[in-house]
């Protein structure tokens, strides 16, 4: 139960929880803090995860359902997958995958209690971004090499 603040007599007597949403002030978060590596990696972990969940999830479903529906359906999927849009999305999903995975490994390590020292934490936060870019580059190098 929220503690009552002093009310003006003109205000209706109703509990704060029924106040319309725009009446509530929101704390700024992304806009007021200086972006450091740990903050950035955490935010990008969420962004990459949700990108993977929606775009990646739908792509996975489409890929499998198309394969199960026959050659024509699969060719339609393939035409999109190998188009420019498909490749852009593919690169984006690959990056999101590595970003989220390396960030996730960082989470698992932190869960054991290790890696909280300021310098160590900062270094590994930066390494997540580096690893994500390297992983993406490696995978797409292999894909494009295999395609030729």
């Amino acid at each position: 139960m929220v503690s009552e603040r002093p009310r003006k007599p003109s205000e209706e007597a109703r509990p704060l929880s029924t106040a319309p949403i725009k009446a509530r002030p929101l704390s700024p978060h992304l806009t007021i803090w200086k972006w450091g590596p740990a903050m950035a990696v955490s935010i990008f972990h969420r962004v990459s995860g949700d990108g993977l969940a929606v775009v990646g999830g739908l792509s996975l479903i489409w890929w499998l359902a198309a394969a199960a529906s026959g050659a024509q359906a699969f060719e339609y999927f393939q035409s999109w997958a190998t188009s420019w849009i498909g490749i852009v999305i593919g690169v984006g999903l690959t990056w999101a995958f590595f970003q989220h995975m390396f960030g996730g490994i960082r989470h698992l390590v932190l869960d054991t209690g290790a890696g909280y020292g300021l310098k160590t934490n900062k270094m590994w936060s930066i390494m997540v971004f580096v690893g994500a870019l390297l992983g993406t580059a490696l995978v797409w190098f292999l894909i494009l090499k295999g395609a030729n």
Binding site: D50, G57, L64, E75, F97, M101, I105
Partner: protein, 129 residues
Amino acid sequence: MRSGTGIAQVRGLGPARKGPKGWIVQRTTAFAQLFLLPWLLVSLLRMGPVTHRAMLDWLASPVNAVLLMLLVVSVFTHLRLGLTELVEDYVHEEALKIASLLIVNFYAIGGGALALFSIARIAFTGTPA
């Protein structure tokens, strides 16, 4: 062993309204995906051009079909928890929150069902090529 007061038990585990189960499941599925996703990636890279025929042949192997099914279950469980957390953090208007959570759950479960069925169909029937 009682946790908190009687009223807290009725309200359900404090402000978060859930215990550590989600935290554990998220990490278990994450750990599984740490192995299954690289496996999928390497399998696809080694397949050469991912033609329909190549996919059907690949999924004819029970090991590949089962591992892919496990991956699908793990991924959709993991994303269900992740998207739920996203809704809980940013959607506060009650009706919209409930609607969003329903959409997340139907997407995760429905999408997972469709993906699993697709794998099964290919693995059992070889699918019209």
